[in-house]
């Protein structure tokens, strides 16, 4: 794949990539943009190589996830070392959010991390469970378990009635 092809692919997946970066960075917009930019640069300068074992989309999402978690660790370390000098910006105050959206974000934040990630990849980004498993580097079996438990818990937290198909 030439750099121009790669750039075109990245551009095509940009909106979904941004949404995933937001989700990986706890919905902090600036952190998400940093993670996204770093991921693009990693891919374009060859630090992250696409071997073709998966789709380009799952590859990109895995790079974003790894970059966001590196960034989170770095920020946590910086926070420990520098304490109050480096207060991180909190996510934007959700006061103006529509109520339903707020409920969803609140419910998602109380799920286990893996459950939330699988649900976001499947519902938010339209991936299959297999693709979500590949993106998160976990087995399909455990992705299924996270998916069904997460969905059940989310439905309960949102007060949705009726059986949730697993």
């Amino acid at each position: 794949m030439t750099p121009a092809d790669m750039e075109a692919e990245l551009e095509g997946l940009h909106a979904a990539g941004f949404a995933w970066a937001l989700s990986c960075c706890g919905r902090r917009r600036e952190d998400a943009l940093d993670a996204l930019q770093t991921s693009y640069l990693k891919i374009l300068d060859g630090r992250a190589k696409f071997a073709g074992h998966s789709s380009f989309k799952t590859f990109l999402f895995a790079v974003i996830r790894k970059t966001a978690s590196e960034q989170r660790r770095r920020n946590a370390l910086r926070g420990i070392l520098l304490g109050s000098w480096n207060k991180r910006a909190e996510p934007a105050a959700p006061a103006a959010e529509p109520e339903k959206r707020l409920d969803l974000l609140k419910a998602l934040s109380s799920l286990a991390r893996r459950q939330r990630q699988v649900l976001e990849l499947v519902f938010y980004l339209g991936m299959t469970i297999e693709e979500a498993a590949e993106t998160l580097a976990i087995s399909v079996g455990s992705a299924r378990v996270h998916y069904s438990r997460g969905k059940r818990r989310l439905a309960r937290l949102l007060g949705l009635r009726g059986g949730v198909r697993t």
Binding site: L10, E11, H14, A15, A16, F18, A19, L22, R29, E30, L33, D34, L36, Q37, Y40, L41, R78, L81, L82, W85, N86, R88, A89, P98, K100, R101, D103, L104, L105, L119, E120, F123, Y124, L125, K151, L154, A155, L158, L160, R161, G162, G163, V164, R165
Partner: protein, 121 residues
């Protein structure tokens, strides 16, 4: 898909639509400068780095000062002698380092040797 499934999908779809509408363009993200909060992080590192530099300078000065005051005058390696060298000096040891000499030249006794004619038969 059951109703709760549909409802969850709808909520996620709504969330995604709002997030994506807010997304900056691809080129904008790729070419953006590093962000204000990273600048803040850099400036947050600066006091720590300055403090570290000051501590290092003070440590170097103190170490040098201590080293100067505790320095013992030392002799050069070539002029050093073991303090126990004196024990190796034994009486007569110089005999092993020199060739013995006779006090006078050996006397010439060749004249005393008898000639063949004078030897009686």
């Amino acid at each position: 898909m059951t109703d709760p499934d549909r409802e969850i999908s709808r909520l996620f779809e709504e969330l995604r639509r709002t997030d994506v509408a807010d997304a900056p363009g691809f080129r904008q993200v790729l070419g953006r400068r590093r962000l204000p909060h990273q600048g803040q992080a850099g400036s947050a590192w600066r006091p720590a780095l300055i403090a570290l530099g000051v501590v290092l300078c003070v440590a170097v000065v103190l170490i040098r000062h201590n080293a100067d005051s505790s320095r013992v005058p030392t002799t050069g390696l070539t002029s050093w002698k073991a303090p126990t060298d004196a024990l190796l000096q034994t009486p007569g040891a110089e005999l092993f380092d020199s060739t013995p000499e006779f006090a006078e030249p050996i006397p010439d006794y060749s004249g005393l040797m008898a000639s063949p004619e004078t030897i009686p038969h």
